[in-house]
């Protein structure tokens, strides 16, 4: 009610007396402030919508997005407050207080926190367990746990801590430069991504190590060497903070360097630290919502195990968390051949129950390769020992484990890594029975075979990638066709619809990442490269291990939606917390006594308050500055109507007599108002009771007064309905019985200024009918491109930054709905009638509007 109350009380305020010319200038000045406020409001609402959509859309975003949008949003709202106080000649300065309170909270959330560079730079493996995770990263903390708490054999060595990495970066003052290069990096521009990534990595690799750090590393290396006779070779393993936590595996994103001799330890360390900025790691962090600053590269420096046989051990089958067997993949030599997808491996299923018999054995080499068949990677005893370890580590860590192991030349078994098995295949819906009856209707596949390493169905043009040059040309939404699943291809997974590889198996890093990203993938599909020509459109049914030509709709219909990778990540959490101070709208009703500055709890409240009061200020201007009460002209259509029009600037034709109390449509040049009016009058009121089109406003007032229409309405509120207009602006406030509707539009010179907004609330019908009505309106408006938000029985709908022609058509729709919602209300008794009316409304609307593009 404050709107009307303010309008009423304004009559009693002191009126500064101004000369006509001064008055005109003052008014134009106010109108300019008003317009600027509207533009800031428009920007603010768009930024809020972007932030909210980021949370639900599942697209990746980084901290820079959150920080940038929150800052721009706050600044726009600050601008609105400034314009409002100027518009209101100094009133509303008390908005500063809630504004400061809210933005202070936001600032704290999005601030860049720098961690200290204090603390030990090196920890021995002997002193590490999971409690040291913040110093050594998860990979090394888990390995320390395996060694010191579970008591299994792991390689000797030490970890160069997160504090060391921070000290290294800080000493060379690299972070500012790194941030500068990352800023605004477009992840879809692969060429730019690779250039920036390579640049940052060489920046780090070429920076000198702080002397004390280099000395400390060499001192620990010397100690390690003292225990062996031969030249000590070490493996340097990255252990990023956050790397192996349960749902997140930065599988293969970072470097491991094997067989490093003393003289190269320093350089290898720097290169691994630099590996934090490998292109796929940058993409990965961005997609998963990790802040670059929160990820620290710790590096394990471990004595090399001279592997005779090495491989991977899953304590459960990845596609069945209750499997009674473990899965072991083994290959001669070092474990890297299994993990990077390049080696041919043997696969074993071994019972989880002592004495752990081998249940199934599958050789990775061709059956007719007799030499290979005779070569056994693992003995029964070794397989049993591994199975027992798998069970034990799963029990210790409380979740199925993905373990890297190696057996050295003397037969000693070492654990190199143990981490949660991660997003398993089984979390996705199991192969449904729907598949089977369908199979008959499907065309002949192009390719059959291989192993499903990530379930699902994908469709797109085939694209073969052989080199980094192909990498750059990989189109978004294509099917990645490769010979070998190298970890380097991981940066393509956010763009790929599916993956088909000729070789590789489930343990390959690329498979892990594909599962995590929900990208369907088949590995070991022979002849893939020869069969699938570039740009051929194919459907990959990874679950069934088949590739079809063209688009196979029934299969795609089965495909599960991609997981929202951001959920639960640090950036996602920060955004969720930030939105608490941004989007909730508490000030929904301008008539409420709580519609005041100190009730503003969020930035949305502030925008709502400023906008409402700005409109009131414009409305009151005439009265406050001594315009007479003839400012508002009564609209005449055949007869005087219940609609009044106030010109803010240039909404009337120049020949209109300002002394007249009435105005007809011919003297109105406000484009948005005319469009609304056209929508209001295009179709006659079709429902009962029959009413004449004579005085348009009276239709509505008759309907609100008619007890048959709405028994709850005892007397109509005697409010006038005002159009506040200029040539390109219109604000229409309608109160019909207990309905409240507001239409506002601005068609500026620039897209930034353009918008249409609609608010609708209330109605005296029972709640069920009110909700049905709101849902109907929401549906219709969404269909015409509005962004609709609905909160119980209140809704707002907006379109921003679209061309004027497009917005004018949208205004016709709103005009139509303003009138016909009354009618809707009566038929909202059941869903069936609602559906019928929906069809009628859509037919009306499609004849009413001229199709225009969004520009």
């Amino acid at each position: 009610m404050s709107f009307y109350f303010d309008r009423l009380t304004s009559f009693f305020r002191t009126k500064p007396r101004l000369k006509p010319a001064e008055l005109q200038a003052a008014f134009r000045g106010h109108y300019k402030e008003f317009r600027a406020l509207l533009t800031a409001n428009n920007n603010a609402l768009e930024l809020m919508a972007e932030l909210e959509q980021a949370l639900t859309a599942g697209h990746s975003f980084g901290m820079a997005f959150v920080r940038g949008n929150c800052t721009a949003l706050s600044v726009n709202i600050y601008k609105m407050i400034q314009h409002l106080t100027r518009l209101a000649d100094g009133r509303y300065v008390e908005l500063d207080h809630p504004f400061r309170t809210i933005t202070r909270e936001l600032e704290q959330l999005i601030a860049i926190r720098s961690l200290s560079t204090e603390g030990e730079v090196i920890l021995s493996m002997k002193e590490i367990d999971v409690t040291k995770v913040d110093q050594v990263g998860e990979k090394m903390a888990n390995l320390g746990e395996v060694k010191n708490r579970v008591g299994l054999r792991t390689p000797d060595g030490f970890v160069i801590t997160a504090a060391a990495a921070r000290k290294f970066i800080a000493t060379s003052d690299l972070q500012v430069e790194i941030n500068r290069r990352l800023k605004g990096l477009d992840l879809d521009n692969l060429e730019e991504l690779y250039t920036v990534s390579a640049g940052i990595q060489s920046l780090i690799s070429n920076a000198p190590l702080p002397t004390e750090l280099e000395e400390a590393i060499l001192a620990h290396h010397r100690q390690l060497a003292a225990d062996s006779d031969e030249e000590l070779l070490v493996a340097l393993r990255s252990s990023a903070l956050g790397e192996d936590s349960s749902n997140v595996s930065f599988a293969g994103q970072y470097r491991t360097q094997l067989n490093v001799s003393r003289e190269f330890v320093g350089q290898a360390y720097k290169e691994i630290v630099a590996g934090k900025y490998k292109s796929q790691a940058i993409v990965y962090r961005q997609q998963r919502g990790y802040r670059n600053l929160d990820v620290h590269m710790c590096v394990g420096c471990l004595r090399m195990v001279n592997g005779a046989v090495s491989g991977v051990l899953y304590s459960r089958a990845p596609d069945n968390p209750r499997s009674p067997f473990v899965i072991i993949q083994a290959a001669p030599g070092l474990a890297s051949a299994v993990v990077d997808g390049s080696g041919v491996t043997d696969q074993f299923r071994v019972s989880r129950t002592p004495p752990h018999p081998i249940l199934h054995r599958q050789s990775g080499v061709e059956e007719n390769d007799s030499a290979a068949i005779s070569r056994r990677t693992l003995t029964d005893d070794q397989a049993a020992e591994l199975a027992a370890i798998g069970v034990r580590l799963e029990e210790h860590f409380g979740t199925p484990q993905d373990i890297e192991w190696s057996i050295d030349q003397s037969g000693l078994l070492y654990i190199l890594q143990s981490r949660p098995l991660g997003r398993s295949l089984s979390e996705e819906p199991p192969e449904t029975s729907e598949y089977k009856p369908m199979a008959a209707d499907l065309p002949e596949p192009l390719l059959i075979g291989g192993a499903c390493v990530s379930r699902g169905v994908g469709y797109g043009p085939a694209f073969k990638v052989r080199s980094s040059l192909d990498l750059l040309r990989f189109p978004k939404g294509a099917v990645l066709v490769i010979e070998t699943p190298y970890p380097e291809w991981a940066s393509l997974l956010n763009r790929a619809a599916a993956v088909v590889s000729e070789t590789g198996q489930m343990a390959a890093h690329l498979a892990t990442v594909a599962r995590e990203f929900g990208v369907p993938a088949i590995f070991g599909m022979k002849q893939a490269k020869a069969t699938l020509a570039n740009d051929t459109l194919i459907t990959v049914d990874a679950t069934a291990g088949k590739v079809y030509a063209g688009r196979i709709e029934p299969l795609l219909a089965l495909a599960a939606p991609k997981p929202n990778l951001m959920v639960g990540s640090p950036v996602y959490k920060i955004l969720t917390q930030a939105l608490v101070h941004i989007t909730p709208l508490n000030l929904t009703d301008p008539a409420s006594p709580y519609f005041r500055p100190d009730s503003c709890k969020t930035l949305h409240d502030l925008t709502r308050f400023c906008h409402e009061k700005a409109v009131v200020e414009m409305f009151n201007f005439g009265e406050r500055y001594g315009f007479d009460d003839k400012t508002a002209k009564q609209l005449v259509v055949d007869a005087p109507s219940q609609w009044w029009v106030i010109d803010l600037d240039d909404g009337f034709t120049p020949d209109f007599d300002p002394e007249s109390r009435y105005i007809d449509l011919g003297h109105i040049v406000s484009l948005p108002m005319l469009a609304i009016w056209q929508g209001m009058t295009a179709f006659p009121w079709a429902g009962p009771p029959p009413v004449s089109l004579g005085g348009f406003g009276s239709i509505i007032f008759q309907s609100t007064r008619n007890p048959h229409l709405d028994p709850a309405v005892r007397s109509a509120m005697a409010a006038k309905n005002y159009f506040l207009i200029s040539k390109n602006y219109c604000n229409l406030n309608v109160r019909l019985g207990y309905h409240f509707a507001l239409v506002e539009a601005n068609l500026g010179e620039f897209l930034t200024e353009n918008y249409v907004s609609f608010q609708f609330k209330g109605g005296a019908a029972d709640e069920n009918r009110r909700l049905l009505r709101i849902r109907l309106i929401s549906d219709i408006l969404s269909e015409f491109g509005f962004r609709v938000e609905q909160k119980v029985d209140a809704m707002t709908a907006r379109i921003e930054k679209k061309p004027g022609a497009f917005l004018l058509e949208r205004l016709k729709i709103l005009g139509y709905l303003l009138i016909h919602t009354r009618q809707i209300d009566m038929v909202m008794a059941d869903e069936g009638m609602a559906a019928g009316y929906r069809r009628k409304i859509m037919t009306d609307l499609h004849t009413l509007i001229i199709p225009t593009t969004e520009g």
């Binding site: 005109q24 721009a72 706050s74 600032e107 477009d186």
Partner: protein, 128 residues
């Protein structure tokens, strides 16, 4: 919209200013660049620019400080703050000292051009 505006870009990120400058000129605007506040002030003193796009971090001077001097000497000259480092305090101080707008890099040229045109329009006397 007016495409004959004279725009001065003050920013020490030379790659960015050079490209932006070229693209503005290709669209029919006149544009000049300055890599420091001091150079920027010299060009403004010549009376040439109609709109200034100012980076908040400059090698010789704090951008907000630079803004303050511009607005003290040429209060009607519209200045848009453009920065790569999102900071609420800077944004608000900027507006207090009279900046027309505060925007963040990366910004697409389309948006920047609109902001420039709006800032210029709003700096004109009302009703003219």
């Amino acid at each position: 919209m007016a495409t004959d505006l004279k725009i001065l870009l003050i920013d020490d990120e030379s790659d960015f200013v050079e490209t932006t400058c070229k693209r503005l000129i290709r669209r029919g605007y006149s544009a000049k660049t300055a890599l420091t506040c001091a150079d920027g002030l010299t060009i403004i003193a010549s009376g040439w620019p109609e709109v200034v796009v100012l980076d908040v971090m400059l090698p010789d001077r704090d951008g907000v400080d630079c803004l303050r001097e511009i607005k003290e000497k040429w209060p009607t000259l519209p200045v848009i703050l453009l920065t790569g480092h999102a900071c609420m305090q800077t944004g608000m101080h900027g507006l207090e000292y009279g900046a027309s707008d505060y925007c963040l890099k990366p910004i697409d040229l389309e948006t920047l051009v609109e902001k420039i045109a709006i800032a210029h329009r709003e700096s004109q006397k009302p009703g003219i």
